[in-house]
């Protein structure tokens, strides 16, 4: 129901403010969902990545584990 209300609302908005711009807000939620990663595509985020290297060192020592460090030009968790 909430989704329906939202869709109706956006359709009204699109009609109301349409002057000068080609609007495409029909099926807006579906369109957004089509771009957002699926749970399968985001599965690697569930590994439990730490973002503070120094705190991770302390944790590694506490649990007697090595660090696995993944570095990219562009943060792997937020960029490409």
């Amino acid at each position: 129901m909430a989704l329906l209300k939202h869709s109706i609302f956006l359709s009204l908005v699109a009609t109301f403010v349409g002057a000068g711009v080609a609007l495409a807000m029909t099926n807006f939620d579906t369109q957004i969902a089509s771009v957002i990663p699926t749970p399968q595509e985001d599965a690697w985020l569930n590994i439990g990545w730490r973002t503070n290297l120094m705190q991770a060192r302390l944790e590694a020592q506490r649990y007697n584990r090595p660090l696995f460090v993944w570095l990219m030009n562009g943060h792997p968790l937020g960029c490409t």
Partner: protein, 307 residues
Amino acid sequence: MHDNFVVVAGDCKELQNGHSSARDWFMNIVMHANNPDLTAQLGRLPGGGGDTAQGFYIIGADGTYYGWDNSHYLPNVIKFIDKGLSDFHKRPPAHIEIADSQLSERFSASPDATTSVVRVFNRISPLPDGCDELNKSVGRDHLWIYADEVQQLLAASNSSAQFPLPKTLVGRLVRFHLIDNVRGEPDQWQPSDIKQADFSANLITTTAHAKRFHFAAKYGQEAADHQRGQTGQLEGTFDVLTDTGKVANFRAYGKAVAWGRSTWTPGEPKGKFALVTAMVSADDPTSQVVPPQFYWGNGDGYRNAGL
């Protein structure tokens, strides 16, 4: 990975070129790794592969180096992980102390409390037949919207039914975020590349706690050599919360016709292809520690993106 490692993800540029004790600790390991492949990657010239330390590392808490690999070929990665873990147990690290000042050190650029974060996703859809596998990836980034831009929006909405989005926000969107980052790190659009950036907004509802805005845009970019470009449209809604002055419930969808590749994003589809974009508000922990792709080393340039 859960049971055998403590896993860390980071921006290589911060750990290679930043100013922190984490950077000093990490680069000391890199410079003493004695790995010819890593040395070669670090020594490559511009245009020949990049002077970068990026990749996977297996390291002890004391700095003992157990391996580096920048292969994304799964069997190689698994082999690398198994060997690193084995070497760790053969040569366990020494006990170390880490100063509190290092533990509390700011590790990466973070948005301040007044800055709103929007997560940006880009995808090639539909996928052209036979295109490179990397085109199936999802481009990810964070857009920061600053408090003064929100104030500009509120002021504009008081005086006009329809008004342009703040210039710096538009500049940030068209230069850094409306871009094909699906296959890797793209080249940011230069001001001279921007051929169109028409972003207009209007206030659609006002409640006791928020003002809701709608915006729509047409944009176009083309590199000076005409080898890369796109034309597209973007549309969405967002709230400005009265109490905090922050943006919430940001939702936008865009679609562009794109062509070409950036320096580090080879394998693009042939000819023109459809690049779709979604933008949604984010306030989870990751969104607070991972800055926008083009923020690093260029905070002012990102903040005041010119056209």
